[in-house]
Amino acid sequence: PPGKPKVTSCRSYDKETITCWWEPGSDGGLPTNYTVLYWKENAKTEQECPDYHSSGPYTCYFDKAHTSVWHYYFVYVKARNALGTNVSEVFQFEIGEVVQTHPPRNLSLLYEVESSKVPYLLVSWLPPEKADTKMGWITLQYQVRLKEEKKHVWEEHIVDQQTKLKLFSLNPGEDYVVQVRCKADSKHWSEWSEESYIKIPGSPRQRDMT
């Protein structure tokens, strides 16, 4: 019979729709048919995946009409060929546990030097696409990281819900790289945003080698 397929993960980018990814098992060269099936908490019957295509190959997409924030989901894959059938483990989740937004957008860096003031780097960004924060449906927490380009250690800062951060006392004359990511109520950080670069004005300080 066919090898055991697998539901590898499920994600919701907006707490409104869900995408699951799956993998076929070994098919021994035989034409094998795969069906993604699911049921919801307390449901009497299971249903077939409503949309195998919108999220790309080997996926199942639950649009708004098929996504409930009130129920647990149980998803599995059935493989069938001439020699028999095989089923995956059941992947279970509720939407709150699988929310992973897209990364924040429009990361911008501005080095501000005001007279009689300590200069600082103003890092600012926009919430991710499709994350409806206005209704309060998703509350995001942000994390900024930066490092000198030639170094390896990142400095990371959690910034709750604000969409900007002032960083003081960066080393003059050095090149820095900055990224930001965010997390909704669940445990999944988004991917890091694209990197932004800036060179801090001024000449690098002589390193005190004593």
Binding site: E41, V69, W70, H71, F74, Q92, M135, G136
Partner: protein, 197 residues
């Protein structure tokens, strides 16, 4: 929740159910308020409708708590069922509202968008309330007793009476969505935070 493979313990926590329900009810009420104010500013600047004939809501027959003391004394099962009844009573009027707003000449697009969004989110909230009531009082989902909507109280062809009927509907939606929002926040404080929000 430790959720064994397909076991009974796999369920969205009651706290998460209430969190999402309150976020929805707050959102629905703020949309309803905005829509009422927009319509009021656009069509009935001096609120003369109200002064003359008063408001008549199809849910008036539902015995809802009208102040804090009454709300404190009502059992949470009764308050839950009341929220369910009010929500069910709005199923037909919201469908009518979405179609009606498309026929009102010069109705701003923002009113139409809000009407559609309210109808969609209210259906979602009703599904959530049925989950919550099913969780807290298994087997007690009274399905039929709610306040049926008698249909639009406007004289066919009379634009003014049609506008007033729509005004009355928006006002009742603002009021009832505020009741639902208020009661849900009370219930959440009572049932999830032991009365200590």
């Amino acid at each position: 929740p430790i959720c064994s493979n397909g076991g009974a313990s796999c369920q969205v926590s009651t706290s998460a159910l209430f969190d999402r329900a309150v976020k929805l009810s707050h959102y629905i009420h703020s949309l309803s308020s905005e829509m009422f104010n927009e319509f009021d500013e656009h069509f009935t600047p001096s609120r003369r409708f109200l002064a003359i004939s008063g408001i008549n809501c199809h849910t008036a027959s539902l015995n809802t708590p009208e102040d804090k003391e009454q709300a404190r004394q009502i059992q949470h099962e009764d308050l839950l069922n009341l929220v369910l009844k009010v929500l069910r009573s709005w199923n037909d009027p919201l469908i009518h509202m979405v179609s009606e707003v498309q026929d009102i000449r010069e109705a701003p697009d923002t009113i139409l968008w809000k009407a559609v969004e309210i109808e969609e989110q209210t259906k979602r909230l009703l599904e959530g309330m049925e989950r919550i009531v099913g969780r807290i009082q298994p087997g007690d989902l009274e399905n039929e007793i709610y306040s049926p909507w008698p249909g639009p109280a406007s004289v066919p062809g009379d634009e003014n009476s049609r506008l007033f009927a729509f005004y009355n509907l928006l006002h009742c939606l603002r009021r009832d969505s505020n009741k639902i929002d208020n009661y849900l926040k009370l219930l959440k404080c009572r049932l999830i935070h032991a009365g200590n929000c």
